[in-house]
């Protein structure tokens, strides 16, 4: 980060007392540009500032040369854009050192040496727009000893303004930084002579280590958060007996379920064609006699549509017996999604009057019915289906299976679309009556639905 030791030596040699006295400022500047690469300019500048701040350059010629070099590092660039612009402003306008009479001298961190009038004049010329060739041709001593004390009328306010603006853009945290190197002269003079080479040692130490950039700024106290405090976090181990969960042997091997044999065969038939009344009765009796038989008759959700189409009565009974089964939702979803027909509607209607079906299921079924009616192409079939749906809906409403409010808009739109059909008009009237609160909905036995549905065929 900082200059290497050899680079530091080069710089210190440039500023060597004899060197600065012997050469013009221009010569030294050219030397500097020859000896340092552009990438190192900031480091060189930082060293120069440190030398000035810590009062490590004994002779005024050295100090003036340092200031000149600091400026010439960034020769050609606008002064407000160079990193050390503030140094010059500080040099020209040092802070007040005397607060009031008698008080100790104020001393600020990073304070720069006080310049004499000719020096100030020189610095002002340096950073202003005037041509500098003439003044740089002089040696440092010539400038210091010149008697040009008249205040120059160089206007620096533009530069000062630009710098102040730049400064104000910085956050407070950056503006409050002070250099961490604090002068701390020993009070009692040491009896030994100052060893000059030792001085070079510590200058080198200041310039070539991180101390060069070391700064201090006020710090916040940041408290680390406490550990999460929570209950029952560690795992308590209880006996789990993993041995209990072991591989099972199928005990039903070669033991056909004789009890269900006949029922099974009847069911196989029931998927394909309507059973005779006698067969139906036999099947239902067997199912009634054994509550678990229903699980063993080979019915699966995928077979349900066939059963509904061919033997709706059986389907109803079987579904009622499966109500407690874990699979019932799957049966329901098959029922909702199967093609709409008189039979499926009959099954759903019976179910709604017998057990509590999930509301979403009933709603989904109604929506499916309505959309089937709307999409069907065959005009004759459409009329038939619409009449069926209307009667079905009336039955549901009268039996308070559904809450009309939740489906009101959908059903009403349906009635209006098919208002040419008598049943739809009737349903519409029923809706209107409900809306006006005319109908108490306490009458109408549920049994008559089937007759009505049949009547619509």
């Amino acid at each position: 980060m900082a200059l290497s030791v050899s680079q530091c030596d080069i710089l210190l040699n440039l500023l060597n007392e004899n060197n600065v006295k012997a050469h013009t400022l221009e010569a030294i500047t050219n030397d500097l540009h020859k000896k340092f690469e552009q990438v190192d300019y900031f480091k060189v500048g930082s060293c120069l500032v440190m030398l000035l701040q810590q009062d490590l350059l004994e002779e005024p010629e050295q100090r003036l040369t340092a200031v000149t070099l600091l400026h010439e590092l960034y020769r050609g660039e606008a002064i407000e854009n160079t990193p050390f612009a503030n140094v010059f402003i500080h040099l020209l306008h040092p802070p007040e050192q005397q607060s009031n009479v008698g008080a100790p001298k104020l001393e600020y961190p990073g304070q720069l040496p006080k310049l004499t009038a000719p020096e100030k004049n020189f610095v002002a010329q340096l950073i202003s727009d005037v041509p500098k060739d003439a003044i740089l041709k002089k040696t440092a001593a010539q400038i210091i000893n010149s008697d040009n004390v008249a205040p120059t009328n160089i206007d620096l306010s533009a530069i000062q303004l630009a710098l102040a603006e730049k400064q104000s853009e910085l956050p407070h945290t950056c503006r409050s930084v002070i250099p961490a190197v604090i002068p701390f002269p020993e009070k009692q003079t040491n009896s030994y002579a100052i060893e000059t080479d030792k001085k070079d040692d510590y200058i080198q130490k200041l310039l070539t280590t991180d101390s060069l950039y070391r700064i201090y700024q006020p710090e916040f106290v940041t408290l680390a958060p406490p550990l999460l405090n929570c209950k029952d976090e560690p795992v308590w181990l209880n006996v789990t007996s993993p041995k209990e969960h072991t591989i099972a042997y199928d005990t039903t091997m070669c033991i056909p379920n004789m009890a269900g044999q006949e029922a099974r065969q009847l069911m196989t038939k029931a998927y394909k064609a309507a059973l005779s009344l006698q067969q139906q009765q036999q099947l239902l009796n067997e199912l009634d006699n054994d509550s678990k038989l229903v699980y063993h008759i080979g019915l699966t959700p995928s077979k349900l549509p066939e059963l509904v189409e061919n033997n709706p009565l059986i389907a109803i009974e079987v579904l009622l017996k499966l109500m407690q089964s874990k699979q019932i939702t799957e049966y329901f979803s098959v029922l909702v999604n199967m093609e709409m027909s008189l039979h499926s509607m009959e099954v759903v209607n019976r179910l709604t009057t017998t057990v509590d079906l999930p509301t979403e299921f009933v709603h989904l079924y109604i929506s499916n019915c309505i959309s089937t009616c709307e999409t069907i192409k065959d005009r004759y079939m459409q009329n038939r289906l619409v009449r069926l749906v209307c009667v079905f809906l009336q039955s549901l409403i009268r039996n308070k299976i559904i809450n009309v409010q939740e489906l009101f808009i959908e059903v009403q739109a349906f009635c209006i679309e098919f208002s040419r059909i008598r049943e739809a008009a009737a349903l519409f009237r029923l809706l209107k009556q409900l809306e006006s609160g005319e109908l108490g909905l306490s009458m109408s036995p549920p049994s008559s639905i089937k007759g009505k549905l049949e009547g619509c065929k």
Binding site: I178, V181, R214, E233, V235, L237, T246, N289, H296, V355
Partner: protein, 671 residues
């Protein structure tokens, strides 16, 4: 359709001799004569279409190896599935349940619980038509799986179903209006009790143990206590009861009793070479858990380390030859390492804790709290305790790093920063390397936040299903496995801790925009501990300063904002939560009292004023803080440095020098 019926018919068509063979095979199997059983099954070989014969054949072959040839069994089971055109993700015939169940058992012992649950939920749908013995096994396995995945509500629901449904088959709830439906109570009862009474008794006993475990995990102590009483009445002394009783006492906060119970167990009782799990490991682990709760983390670590040793020995013993199925998953290593990590963290050994928890997180990577714990390890490695910020003696040694030169040119170099919290890394260090750094902590905290258990975990079961195919169950909402689930209060506390830690880590890493977000989010939380409120304001203020918004920062630093610095929710609220259990070590934090906390806030106010250039005001405030210091009010050690700074900025170099002289070691500075 027609093709499918052909084998079905012939499966039901069984000759008399075939039936006899099958019966012999079953009874030989039940007596444990697997060779004889296998011989009988082989005689049924001509029934190639009969999947039950094929199934039982591989089952008996597996039993013949003492359940050790698990790999072979898995292979045969898979080829059995292909042979009979079965699919693992589809189940629509009760006859296929056994095979699916067996697959799930394998997965359970291999600790692949979620996959096992997916299978078992399909099998469970057929629990009614299943034969009773299998139904019981299916029920218990599913309960165990739910408990393994800490889905306790599901587990307890299933337990009550098993209790009611399997024995007192309730008739279907029929609407009152329909009187035509006949309910045949008689037949129902007659059918259900086909299983012998002893089997039922045994099953009931198992149910009681499961219920007790489940209730304790749910922290329903009274219900749990009832089940434990039933258990000890019926069965006398069994080891499971002892552990459950100790668990109950532990949860009640009666640690001494719990320790006494566990210590009473004799070596003979703890011998568990046959059961597939080590009682010794349990004893050590549970003793560790109790000591942790008592606030003795070092002792707890000692017990956990013993448990880990015992666990390794137990599993090595069985390494000779193949392990039987039931001890495949017997190692409790990950749970033990997790426990050990938590205790090490509390014992102030964060680096070791980190090493343990990083092992545990490989298995429990969906545990939000575990990720937070990892981050806490990183934070403590970074900053052991806040006490350093208040240790004036130690800080004053660190104030000056170097003295350069001598005599007239003596220079003192101030420390760049006294507080060591900030660690702005310039090199792009990879965050994902699992080492206890703040970078890794920020990653952990992000995980922790994302994995916070949400309230809307239960997704509704879709109505539209493909028949027979259960859609893949949504992954269970992330929980604190292996620990028991969190109460809403604990989730709130967890969230607050994650936010606080995130804000701190972001500040330390210099990510103050994000830090401000976290701090504000923390302050918005409805249930905030006093400590978290303090931290929220402090972090927000510091982030705002760095964003150069000093006036907003000063609002946050108003001491009125913080009225207490409690680390626990008030008792009244805890009771509301029905969490009457006490198993957490008493929390510790520095600063421990409100006065010190206020001193910190005031100090930070002084920093704000200093930054603004209001040096005189800041100096007055600092004097005030300094005067207020005492045994009950610690003040930040940075205060001296700030005073020094202010004096320097005011140009009072002499005062600054005398301060330096006063607070640095005389031998280091001459003059």
């Amino acid at each position: 359709m027609a093709e499918k019926e052909e084998p079905e018919k012939s499966m039901d068509c069984v000759s008399e001799t075939e039936r006899e063979f099958a019966q012999t095979a079953l009874s030989e199997f039940q007596f444990g004569n697997y060779t004889a059983s296998l011989q009988s099954i082989n005689k049924l070989e001509n029934r190639t279409y009969d999947l039950k014969v094929a199934h039982n054949k591989i089952v008996v072959e597996y039993f013949k190896t003492d359940l050790k040839a698990t790999d072979i069994f898995q292979k045969s089971l898979t080829s059995f599935y292909t042979q009979f055109n079965l699919r693992m993700d589809k189940l629509d015939d009760v006859d296929h349940c056994v095979a699916h169940y067996n697959q799930a058992v394998l997965l359970y012992h291999q600790r692949q619980y979620s996959q096992a649950i997916r299978i078992m939920e399909r099998v469970y749908k057929f629990i009614e038509p299943m034969d009773e013995t299998l139904a019981q096994q299916v029920g218990l396995l599913l309960v165990e799986l739910h408990m393994c995945t800490k889905q306790l509500v599901k587990a307890s629901g299933l337990l009550s179903f098993l209790e009611n449904q399997l024995f007192n088959n309730n008739p279907i709830v029929i609407k009152q209006s329909d009187k035509t439906h006949k309910v045949c109570d008689k037949e129902v009862k007659a059918k259900t009790f086909t299983v012998s009474n002893t089997t039922i008794e045994q099953f009931k006993k198992k149910l009681v143990i499961y219920k007790a475990r489940c209730f304790l995990m749910m922290h329903s102590l009274n219900a749990g206590s009832r089940e434990i009483d039933i258990l000890s009445d019926r069965n006398g002394k069994i080891i499971a009861t002892t552990f459950l009783k100790a668990n109950l006492e532990y949860l009640r906060g009666k640690y001494e009793e719990a320790i006494a119970m566990l210590n009473k167990l004799t070596i003979e009782e703890l011998d568990s070479s046959e059961v597939g799990e080590s009682y010794l490991v349990m004893q050590y682990n549970n003793l560790g858990t109790i000591h942790h709760a008592m606030g003795k983390p070092h002792l707890a670590c000692h017990y956990y380390q013993k448990a880990i040793k015992a666990d390794t020995e137990f599993n090595q013993k069985q390494e000779n030859g193949d392990k039987p199925l039931f001890s495949l998953g017997s190692s409790k290593y990950h749970e033990l390492v997790y426990n050990l990590g938590i205790s090490l963290l509390h014992a102030g050994r964060p680096a070791h804790a980190f090493d343990c928890l990083i092992i545990a997180v490989r298995r429990y990577h969906r545990n939000s709290r575990l990720w937070l714990r990892l981050a806490e390890c990183c934070i403590i490695v970074h900053k052991e305790s806040n006490e350093v910020d208040f240790d004036i003696q130690r800080k004053q040694k660190e104030m000056f790093v170097e003295v350069i030169g001598s005599n007239k040119h003596q220079k003192i170099i101030l420390a760049k920063n006294l507080s060591k919290d900030k660690k702005y890394s310039v090199e792009g260090e990879p965050y994902a390397v699992p080492v206890p750094t703040l970078e890794f902590a920020s990653l952990c905290l992000r995980n922790a936040y994302l994995l916070l258990p949400s309230d809307t975990s239960s997704s509704p079961i879709p109505l539209l299903l493909i028949p027979g195919v259960t859609p893949p169950a949504p992954p269970p909402s992330p929980g604190p496995a292996p620990s028991v689930p969190l109460s809403p209060n604990c989730v709130a506390a967890l969230k607050n801790s994650i936010l606080a830690a995130s804000a701190y880590v972001c500040l330390c890493l210099g990510d103050y925009v994000v830090a401000l977000e976290y701090a504000r989010n923390l302050l918005r939380q409805p249930r905030l501990l006093g400590t978290h409120r303090l931290l929220g304001h402090l972090y927000a203020a510091e982030a705002l300063i760095l964003l150069d918004n000093i006036s907003d920062a000063l609002d946050h630093l108003n001491p009125e904002n913080v009225k207490d610095i409690s680390l626990e929710y008030p008792v009244a609220e805890v009771v509301e939560d029905k969490q009457n259990i006490e198993t957490n070590p008493s929390p510790k934090w520095f600063p421990s009292n409100l006065a010190s906390a206020h001193a910190v806030m005031q100090y930070n106010v002084a920093v704000c004023k200093t930054l603004r250039g209001q040096l005189d005001q800041a100096a007055t405030l600092l004097k005030q803080i300094w005067k207020g210091r005492g045994p009950n009010c610690k003040v930040p050690a940075l205060i001296i440095m700030l005073v020094l700074y202010i004096e320097l900025q005011l140009g009072h170099a002499d005062i600054a020098r005398s301060l330096i002289k006063q607070y640095s070691l005389p031998c280091r500075v001459n003059g």
